[in-house]
């Protein structure tokens, strides 16, 4: 007897970073029923679009699904790298050696994971000629006797700081004057870049995104990707990314505006 689809996410979540293969999922949740297979496929696609699960990732002939926050990612690859560098102590690991040691699905994320590990100040990159070597910050801290602060702590602290600094929530009425001015400046065309709006308001991106998504849900504004021209990176970065949509939403139209 096939299991209920409601148990799908818990089953995938239970597998943690190992993930659950499509074959195993199909066997468990669809059995031999074609109708159940359709339903299952739809559910998997929908969960992936919503961001509840990740996948399918091809790995050694299997297609794996992971729960959100689990499975391979830039972060897990980064953690693997940090752990390897830490364990190695003052015996420095070269980039090729490190590349070989990061195996499995994390290997796919190695280049980005390495960048992440360096940028979060968990490890530092040392150069010798054209070769690169890596040293863990705790090893250096022990050696020089200063206090180490983990990357995660820094992240939490930053988020807390942003949360504390944020005052009352942004409203559409506050955004409208800037929107109208930008619209007029571009010849009356309604779709205004979120990037331009963000600059004009001089506020936080997160606040603006939250407001625009809320207003879009309420039907007072529409947000749009712009796929037919190449946009500068900062315009893309200022865009809103939503689960299930591959392109960022970079422009906004306020409805019923003359």
């Amino acid at each position: 007897m096939a299991s209920k689809l409601d148990d799908l996410v818990p089953a995938i979540r239970a597998k943690n970073d190992a993930g659950l293969s499509l074959a195993a999922i199909t066997k468990k949740f669809a059995g031999t029923s074609k109708d159940r297979a359709v339903e299952l496929r739809e559910r998997l696609a929908s969960l992936a679009r919503e961001g509840t699960i990740l996948g399918p990732f091809k790995y050694r002939g299997s297609k794996l699904y992971f729960a959100a926050g689990r499975g391979p990612s830039v972060e897990t690859a980064s953690q693997a790298i940090v752990s390897l560098v830490s364990r190695s102590g003052v015996k420095l690991l070269s980039k090729p050696t490190l590349t070989k040691k990061v195996t499995g699905m994390n290997a796919r994320f190695f280049p980005d994971g390495l960048k992440h590990a360096i940028s979060s100040q968990a490890i530092m990159e040392l150069s010798c000629g054209s070769s690169k070597y890596y040293l863990h910050r705790d090893v250096a801290a022990d050696y020089f006797g200063f206090e180490a602060v983990s990357g995660n702590d820094t992240g939490n602290w930053t988020e807390q700081l942003i949360a504390d600094a944020s005052g009352p929530r942004l409203t559409l009425e506050e955004v409208l004057p800037a929107y109208r001015r930008l619209k007029a400046e571009q010849g009356g065309f309604s779709a205004v870049k979120i990037f331009d709006l963000m600059k004009a308001l001089d506020g936080s991106k997160e606040d603006l995104h939250r407001l625009l998504v809320d207003e879009a849900k309420a039907g007072r504004v529409t947000i749009h990707p712009t796929t037919s021209v190449e946009l500068p990176a900062e315009v893309i970065d200022a865009g809103i990314r939503l689960p299930g949509f591959s392109e960022p939403f970079v422009t906004v139209v306020v409805k019923n505006e003359p």
Binding site: K34, A37, A45, R49, G188, F189, S190, H224, T226
Partner: protein
């Protein structure tokens, strides 16, 4: 009824690009009604209530339809506009022109190609040109008769009948008598003078060519549709020079034959504009024109083209009456690529934006249901499509989406329902998308008509892929407007759709002059022709034959493109246009690079085949410039299937609902019948062609 999703061979949601506005047959209630109504209101303003107008109506600003992103239905809106207007306007869909100095020639050519089509596929419906001509002539005669003719009291009662004939509302039984009478009237030179004088009463000024216009329209209205006289009349309308026997055939005066064999591109362009101006003025007697510039992203590749587009919009506003201009664009392309190159006064000729809207949940349900219903799916099967709150999930968190985004999600859903055990289909390759466009062009005769802009685009944009080449517009030449240059080789291109011997002799003369000035470089000079054009040169061009022979020895080539090649070239341009508009996942650059690779052997053939120094190495499929192989009748339309074969096709398609064209051809027992079969499908109300990358499917349509 189709039993299940698994039985359906065609994904009904993959068709998410409008290739021809005329193909639009369904629209969701309320979706984009605001922009549509704004456009309709503008056309209404051209409507005088009762025809003919007392004077031509001055044009309004060009209406600018803006999409916030790709896939919000610009071309679809034009399709709805066309359908809503029906016979109230002559709708001209303008694909981008490619030569700044020949823009009006392109617009006129597309206008006449549109006028050569009937309003719809109902059997017996006249072409729009014929209807326009009858409408104009009948009203002019009615105007004349209304004032009374001395000694002819019987004429005045004919006025209402003539007005009815002009409006197309006269009963079929009464038409022959009246059209015969008109034929006799316009065959006589004496009434022609009086009738042409009536144009001034309605403030129509055709710059001294009033009589010529009436004679030409009389041929278009009343002559055999495939006669030589009609072919000559069309040439005159296109601004092409006429042979002396054609001038006699049309009963024109020599001065009316304004097209010159040795006209420059500017002169041709100017004459084309005057013809268009004439057609628009005469619309006072008939119905207004609606000119729609679509795919405007194409102009962004060349600031000269943008400037010309601006000039055209400006001139349409200032100098052409009885029409509405519509321009469509994606906002990002328009604001980023087009507007910065358009002069400020030209921008003033554009209306404020008319913004397209996205589709909501209710509209989505309607659209999806309609598409599934058209495939013959039973209601319970259709309901299954929406199971598991699928639509809610699609519209979470955004309550409004671009229509194409919705269709893409629906295509995924369909795929999952129809083929549950198959992995999701990979993104279609450029080869697949190209073949899809080629099959799309193959399915529509109108998309295969001679298009100089497509040929220019091919020579310019595709040609630039060749190693070491410099592609550019020529300077100081009349006909060979584009050249490929290498240090040791020059290949030039002229674009000519006419068939006047003097024009062709001038082209050959220019080729000879260039060949003489080439120095040590190898030289080739090409003119491409398509199957719908008359063969050139003609056997009767004895005076020019020595020039052709000489030019041929020096690299002059007239290349007769095959029908397959025309479909490929036109399909390529559509594909590139789709990429520029963001309609496909590949960028313009990627798509162009793929097309350049695809056409590399053809480019090589053109560049290297039979340089004048090595005539025996010619590998291109070129037409000899010697005597023609076919008689010089006007090119006939492609034939459809005969009655017996058509019946077999109807039986087969009705039985299968949807079937691969190759299976139908197998039943017909002859693969060569593909094109006639497609022509029959095009005009039959129960048949519809679905172009796919591998093949074309034929679908049975249930009609009321």
């Amino acid at each position: 009824m189709t039993a299940s999703y698994a039985d359906m061979q065609v994904n009904p949601f993959e068709d998410d690009i409008v290739r021809e506005p005329r193909d639009v047959s369904f629209s969701v209630a309320d979706l984009n009604d605001v922009p549509l109504n704004r456009l309709l209101a503008k056309v209404e303003a051209l409507d005088p209530g009762e025809l003919p107008r007392s004077s031509p109506v001055k044009a309004d600003k060009a209406q600018l339809v803006i999409s916030p992103d790709r896939g919000y239905g610009k071309s679809h809106l034009l399709g709805r506009l066309f359908a809503a207007l029906g016979r109230r306007a002559t709708k001209v869909y303008l694909r981008p022109f490619q030569a700044p100095d020949r823009a009006w020639q392109s617009i006129l050519m597309l206008t006449l190609q549109e006028l050569e089509r009937p309003d719809d596929e109902t059997p017996g419906v006249p072409t729009q040109l014929q209807a326009l001509a009858i409408g104009t002539l009948a009203h002019i005669v009615a105007d004349f008769a209304e004032d009374g003719v001395p000694g002819r009291p019987d004429v005045t009662p004919a006025v209402p009948l003539l007005r009815e004939l002009a409006a197309g509302s006269l009963p079929e039984t009464a038409k022959p008598r009246l059209t015969d009478w008109l034929r006799n009237l316009f065959a006589d030179a004496v009434p022609m003078n009086r009738l042409s004088g009536r144009l001034k009463n309605r403030r129509i000024d055709l710059y001294g060519r009033e009589k010529a216009w009436l004679k030409v329209l009389a041929i278009c209205a009343l002559d055999d549709p495939i006669s030589e006289a009609r072919s000559a009349a069309l040439k005159w309308l296109r601004g092409e020079p006429l042979e002396s026997e054609e001038v006699v055939l049309l009963r024109l005066e020599q001065a009316d034959n304004e097209g010159r064999g040795d006209s420059s591109a500017q002169e041709i362009n100017q004459l084309s504009f005057r013809r268009l101006q004439g057609l628009c003025q005469l619309a006072s007697y008939y119905r207004p024109f609606v000119f729609c510039f679509d795919q405007t992203e194409f102009y962004a590749s060349d600031p000269a083209l943008i400037k010309t587009l601006g000039n055209c919009i400006d001139q349409l506003y200032v100098d052409l009456s009885n029409h509405l201009t519509v321009v469509t664009a994606n906002q990002a392309n328009w604001v980023t690529d087009i507007l910065p190159h358009m002069a400020a006064p030209q921008q003033q000729r554009l209306s404020a934006e008319i913004r397209l809207e996205g589709i909501g949940k209710q509209g989505a349900r309607e659209l999806i249901t309609e598409r599934l219903k058209a495939c013959g799916l039973a209601p319970d099967r259709i309901a299954r499509f929406f199971d598991d709150d699928w639509l809610d999930r699609v519209f979470t968190p955004l309550p409004e989406l671009g229509v194409r985004a919705l269709l893409m999600r629906a295509a995924e859903r369909f795929q999952a329902l129809a083929r549950p055990n198959k992995p999701p289909a990979p993104q279609p390759s450029l080869a697949d998308l190209f073949q899809l466009e080629v099959n799309g062009v193959r399915s529509k005769t109108a998309l295969q008509a001679y298009n100089q802009d497509c040929l220019m685009w091919f020579a310019k944009d595709i040609g630039q892929a060749m190693s070491g080449v410099t592609v550019g517009r020529t300077v100081g030449l009349r006909y060979f407007s584009l050249a490929w240059d290498w240090p040791d080789r020059r290949v030039c291109f002229a674009f000519e759709g006419g068939d006047h011997w003097r024009r062709w002799k001038s082209i050959a003369d220019e080729a000879l002059r260039m060949a003489g000035a080439r120095g040590d470089r190898a030289f080739l000079a090409y003119v491409f022709r398509t199957p719908d054009l008359a063969r050139v040169p003609r056997k009767t061009w004895a005076t020019a034959q020595p020039t052709f022979d000489e030019a041929s020895k020096h690299g002059f080539r007239i290349v007769e493109l095959t029908s397959d090649r025309v479909c490929e070239l036109h399909g390529a341009r559509e594909l590139y246009s789709n990429a520029l508009q963001g309609n496909i996942v590949y960028s313009g650059t990627e798509t162009l690079a793929w097309l350049q690779k695809h056409f590399a052997p053809f480019l090589k053939d053109i560049a290297l085949a039979s340089a004048s120094a090595h005539p025996k190495e010619d590998r291109s499929k070129k037409a000899e410039t010697g005597p023609p192989k076919q008689p010089q009748k006007p090119p006939a339309r492609q034939d459809a299937l005969d009655g017996e074969r058509l019946q077999l096709v109807l039986d087969v398609v009705r039985e299968h609902r949807i079937i691969d064209i190759s299976a139908v051809l197998a039943r017909l027992g002859n693969d060569d019948l593909r094109d006639p079969l497609l022509r029959s499908v095009e005009v039959h109300p129960n048949l519809r062609a679905h172009p796919g990358p591998q093949t074309i499917f034929l679908q049975w349509r249930i009609t009321a």
